[in-house]
Amino acid sequence: MSVEEEVKEIVARIVHVDKSVLTREGTFKDIKADSLDIVQAMVAVEDKFDIEISDEEAQKFQNFGDFIDYVESHVTEKEKA
């Protein structure tokens, strides 16, 4: 499964929405996720890919696309290392 699909799967599971409603342009606000959902989704993604997403970085995400790109770039970085 691609990083994008895995991130979507995690978000869908935590926020209790169908994976199909998650688009790159969509936001946590669109799917009515509360602050706890967001933190839990971040933590679950961090655990899954063994990366760290700081609050500072997370605040810069405009939508799921930014979130996915961030995870993808850090996973690639890890693989290179």
Binding site: D34, S35, L36, V39, Q40, V43, E52, S54, D55, E56
Partner: protein, 254 residues
């Protein structure tokens, strides 16, 4: 210096009250393990400020609400240092909701970080204090005994924390480990801004009977006292740091 050569773990010490406690203990000579979860930059800054005081600092990232991560943190401490003298259970989180809106997820999240983490930390810390004694201080809040709007699940978790403090104090007394809690009223930190923004409490940044807001340093001073030999006969107590607010509920402040 009273804490020279000691090693202290302060959970959630990247910012706020935890940071003030870490710096206070460091200023008394203790080496500090800075635990953080979400903000690495803040934690690195705390560590740098600790080192500037002439003691050692070690930064460890761990969500204390996750038992596996918490175990990893203590494994690192056990391997690297082999002992611990002081545990400050400070890391906290919470969900601001009316009691009737608290769901299982919000309950578990808050209870696991605020109450269960203290149990698990104390269990691991007690082993690292074996044969040398130690001090354990948990950080509570007035919400354990008093009602703030939508603070319910946090208040309940703090009540559990204070009760656990009493049980631990008795069970660990024969091991020469002192266990106490410090409960503060609203303290001027980033977390307070969050609580006010989320409507968890009204903006109470007004004068207490003592004439000003409680600061993180006020809390840190009480913690440092409980970590000192002078406090040896204080066991299982919750020391309230609130500028007199809780004993004067009918005094309109400000």
């Amino acid at each position: 210096m009273p804490l020279e050569g000691k090693l202290a773990l302060v959970t959630g010490s990247g910012r706020g009250i935890g940071r003030a406690i870490a710096l206070k203990l460091a200023s008394q000579g203790s080496d500090i393990i800075v635990n953080f979860f979400r903000r690495r930059e803040a934690a690195e800054k705390t560590a740098k400020d600790i080192e500037a005081l002439g003691v050692k600092a070690e930064v460890i990232r761990a969500n204390v609400g996750d038992p596996a991560k918490l175990d990893e943190m203590f494994d690192t401490i056990a391997t690297k240092f082999g002992h611990l003298d002081i545990l400050i259970s400070n890391a906290a989180s919470g969900v601001g909701r009316a009691v009737l809106d608290v769901d299982i997820k919000a309950w578990d999240w808050t209870m696991n970080i605020n109450a269960r983490a203290f149990l698990l930390c104390a269990q691991r810390a007690a082993k690292l204090m074996e044969g040398r004694g130690g001090k354990i201080v948990s950080i509570s809040s007035l919400g354990s005994s008093f009602v703030w709007p939508t603070y319910a699940v946090v208040g309940v978790s703090k009540a559990a924390l204070e009760s656990l403090t009493r049980y631990l104090a008795i069970e660990l007394a024969p091991k020469n480990i002192c266990v106490n809690a410090v409960a503060a009223s609203a303290v001027e930190t980033e977390a307070l801004k969050f609580y006010i923004k989320e409507g968890l409490m009204s903006d109470t940044r007004q004068a207490t009977p003592a004439g000003r807001m409680v600061t993180p340093e006020d809390v840190a001073n009480a913690v440092a006292f409980l970590c000192s030999e002078e406090a040896l006969m204080i066991r299982g107590q919750t020391i309230i740091v609130d500028g007199g607010t809780s004993v004067a509920p009918f005094t309109a402040a400000g």
